[in-house]
Each structure stands twice: as C-alpha cells, then as structure tokens.
C-alpha cells in the first residue's frame, strides 16, 4: 500500500470517530426523538445531553487513549503483547482509584478523588517499574516487562485485600468500577480529559518515525539519529498519563489497548505514522460502540463496556493470531 493509500485510512478512521459521536448517542434502552432533542424538550434533551452524549464522548476518549497507549507500549517494549496492563501502570491506577473509593473521599483539591488516586497510583507504578528495571540509568525493555508483570500481581493482590475488607455498599461500587464501565460524566471533566488526551496524542504522533525505529531495535534506532533512552522515558511518561486518566474515568477496561493496534497492524499498516492515528480513532469508535451495545443487549440491565470488549475481543484476537500464523 502506498503512503497516500494509507493516509486515506487515517482520514477514514477520523470520519468513523465523528460518525460514532453523532450516531451512537441515539442508541439506548429508552427511545429519544431527534425533533424533541433539537427543541430542548424534556426528558429527551436531558437523556441525550446528560446521559448519552457525554457517555459516548467519554467512550471515544477512553478507547482512543488506551489504544494509543497500547500501540505505544508495543513499540517501547518491542513486544506485541505489551499493553498498559503489562507494565503494571493500569493496575497501579486501579489500586489508587479503589483506595479512594473505599475511603469515601469525594474530592481532593477540587478534583474528583478517583482521578487523583488513579494518577498517584499510575505514577507510583511507573516509578517502581522504572526504578526497579533501570541499571546505571539505562532502561531495558526485557527488565521492564518482567518488573511490570510482577508489579501487576502485587497490585492485584492489594486490590483484593482492600476490596475484601471494604464495607458492603462500597464493595459493590468497587466491583462495578473494576468491571470497567462508562458512566455519564460532567462536561468539565470531559474537557480536561480531552485536552490531556489530545496533548499526549500530539506529542506521540509527532515522533511516529522514532517509534518505527525503536520497534526495529534500540541499537539500530541509535544509529539512525535518535536517543533511545530519552525516547523511552518520554514514551513511558506519556503512556502513563494516558492510561491513568482513562482508568480514572472508566475503570480498568482491558483488551481495547491490545486488540485495536493488532487489528490496525494486520489490516492497515505496521507503520506508526499510520498505526498510531488509526488506533487512536478506531479504539475510540470500538469502545463507544461496545458501550452502546451494552446499553441495549440486556436492557434494562446494562452490560459494562469492559465486559463487552473482553467477550468479543478475546475470541477475535485468538482468531486473528491463528489466521496469521
């Protein structure tokens, strides 16, 4: 495929994301009418604006952030199984969030407490992973991967511990949160998230060529005019910020960060100049669509988006990998 042909895919993915934002809010258990929404008539207008639209936008942003972070970590660790989970960053963020949920703090310094908890947890995980796997200031992807997997186990155990000692009503909200679900969210919070995600995406996309080089080998990247150590550090910080904000708002939604870059790599291109923007847009579309489906398949009950992603994503990934090998 030529570069121009691949550029078309980026444009198509972006169009798909916009289409998702326009059409997905209309899907849900209670029917709403277009004319009534436009005329600001209740309850249709309220359902559309406060419940469906904010939730769809959140889904788009969370899916986009996690997919981009997944694609990034796959390049940083040169491992096609790497995701924000593999490095323990996601479980660090989860642990921080769950601590704040069980402690019952509503907000810290004006910010929702879960955000602060998740960010602190992700930062702690990053510091531990980087500190434990650095030797003489050099990061090695092999040690990072092993440390991340170990850390994952430790955080999972800690989450279980906190969860089992929590009061019953808080335990329910912890369980709900751990399933990874999208809920309606205030637009102010959504705006902060959108700014953070776009900023990280811009930083990462501007270095797309460098991720290509890193993917092929650290040594070789170094002889192609980049500083692999600086690039690794930048990547880990951006990836952690993306992961922490996404986890803080939607819980640990797995699979989207693993599966979307894989689909893009298999179907469109392995070139990060294409793979990154496509993963960003399509990851958002996939998660928002999974959430919309979750609203109706078992209505009036809701299936969390994370559960839908895992139910459909797991088998699809297995099929994809089998077919390719």
């Amino acid at each position: 495929m030529t570069m121009a042909g691949q550029g078309k895919w980026v444009a198509l993915s972006a169009v798909a994301a916009v289409a998702a934002a326009v059409f997905l809010p209309w899907i849900g258990p209670s029917p709403i009418e277009f004319s009534r929404v436009v005329a600001h008539q209740q309850p249709d207008y309220l359902i559309f604006m406060e419940l469906r639209l904010s939730r769809t936008l959140l889904g788009l942003l969370v899916g986009a952030s996690l997919s981009l972070a997944g694609a990034l970590f796959q390049a940083l660790l040169r491992d096609s199984l790497a995701t924000p989970y593999t490095l323990g960053i996601s479980s660090g963020a989860s642990f921080g969030a769950i601590l704040t949920i069980t402690s019952g703090l509503p907000s810290v310094a004006g910010l929702p407490a879960v955000w602060v908890g998740a960010l602190l947890g992700a930062t702690a995980a990053l510091v531990i992973v980087a500190g434990a796997s650095a030797q003489r200031g050099q990061l090695s992807s092999f040690r990072l991967l092993l440390t991340g997997i170990s850390l994952n186990g430790v955080f999972s155990a800690l989450i279980l511990m906190v969860h089992s000692t929590a009061r019953e009503y808080r335990s329910i909200s912890v369980t709900h949160w751990l399933l990874g679900s999208l809920d309606s969210i205030r637009y102010s919070a959504l705006t902060v998230f959108a700014v953070v995600a776009s900023l990280m995406a811009a930083i990462l996309l501007s270095r797309a060529k460098h991720w290509n080089l890193l993917m092929v080998g650290e040594d070789w990247a170094a002889t192609r005019g980049v500083d692999p150590q600086r690039l690794l550090r930048l990547g880990f910080v951006c990836g952690s910020v993306l992961t922490a904000t996404a986890v803080a708002l939607a819980g640990p939604i797995g699979f989207v960060g693993l599966i979307v870059p894989h689909i893009v790599r298999a179907r469109i291109s392995a070139d990060y100049r294409i793979l990154m923007p496509c993963s960003f847009f399509l990851g958002g579309v996939l998660l928002a669509a999974a959430d919309a489906a979750g609203r109706i398949v078992l209505a009036p009950a809701e299936l969390p988006a994370g559960a839908i992603m895992a139910l459909l994503g797991g088998p699809y990934l297995v099929w994809l990998v089998r077919r390719r090998s």
Partner: protein, 261 residues
Amino acid sequence: MSTLEARNISVTKTGRSILQQVTLCAHRSELLFVVGPNGSGKSTLLRALCGLWPVAHGQVLLDGSPVENLHRRLLATRVGYVPQNTWIDFAFSVREIVAMGRYPHRGRFAPETGADRKAIGEAIQQCDLSHLVERPVHTLSGGERQRVAIARSLAVEPDFLLLDEPTASLDIEHALQIFQLCRQLASAGRGVVLATHDLNLALRYADRIALLRDGELVKLGSPGEVLVPDVLEEVFRVKTEPVTTPCGVTVLAFQPLRRLL
C-alpha cells in the same frame, strides 16, 4: 580524505575491560575486516566506532572531529551500522524497513523525496530483494532478513558502513554476494568495516585486516601480513596451511593444535 578513526580507545562494560588502547583508522574506498576469537571485542569495536558505546579512554573521530560532539542525526547520515541481531517480530514490509534508513535525512513530517526513493530502490536492488519488497519481514528466511538489514543501512548512503558478522546466517551463495557487494561499495568510494569469523573470505576480499585478541589489537595490515600461520596459531590456537587451488585462489586449511580424545 574522509576517515573514521579509533584513537587509543578503551571500553569497559559493567566494570570489565572489553577493549584496551585500540588504534585504527578506516579509510574510504577500503574494505577493512575485523577478525578475532569469540569475545575478543569485534562487536564492541564496531559499536564504539558508530558512537553506540561510550569509550572510557581515547576518542573516536570522524574526519578528525570527535563523534560525541557530532549531532546524532548528522552522524546517522554518515555512518551506517548493521547489528548482529536483526530479528524483527512485526509486520513491517521490506520496503518500509529499508525506507527507515532514510529517516535521519528528512524532517519529522517530510515526505520521501526523489533522492530518498532512489537510494531505497538501489539498496533493495543491490541486496537482491526486488521480488520481496511487499513481503512482511517476519515471514522471511534468516538469510533474507539479513539482506534486509544490510539494505536498510545501505539506503543511508553512508560514507562508512559497519557490519557485525553480516554473513553469519547466510548460505554460501548469499554470503559471497554480500562480500562482493561490500567490495563494490568500497570500490565505489565508501569505507566498509566488517567483523567476521570467516578467515578465508577475509583473506580473499579484505584490503586490510585488524586482528583482535582479548580486547587488544594484535596485528593490523594486509591479509598477507595478518593471516599467517604463526599469528593464527598464537591467536586462534589452530595450525594453518595455506593451499592454492588450481584456479589460483588461496585458501587456509585449519587443524586443531591438539586432537580431542
């Protein structure tokens, strides 16, 4: 005249000394081979020459200026490096990989220029990869991958090309092709530095040979000066007998010093 020079360099890795006071100078239009037993420092010498490994003492100089003072991107357009391990596990196509050799030549978002396409096309052709350009690299054989690795460094159009055991996984036909290619590149004005274990091919193709042992430069000179039975017996602990075939090619026949029981 352009030169890539190691001036009295020493390299230490995790407290262990890998290279000690090595001085050698690679010239353009020359094919310089680096040979020596396992662990003698061949790879480290190449890595130090392209600025990948910091030197503890001494200096690496490109045209007389220390490489650590050169901008990474400038160095990247002048020195190409083919590492030993070139395993790539992702579905980049052959052309995409070779095109990455040109990254430092352009800005972050600049598209390929005609000069880029020409360099990429020539590199692909020289490494006999024209029929594989669209294939994902992870579906290629070991030898084909190695040729892709060489092509991506050739696409750089470097003044100096450093290759770390480029023929270790190649069959004899492709190994000979690679050596011939290196020979041609040298004749066309590039400086080629190549680490290898194949002393026979070194004898046949090298302009000069650097012989390392335990991180020290034992001998530097023409193949006829370096690959002589006395020196090889001392460094590799083998008996060597030069034999000239009827078609005029001299080969080295090796015997172990002691027979194994």
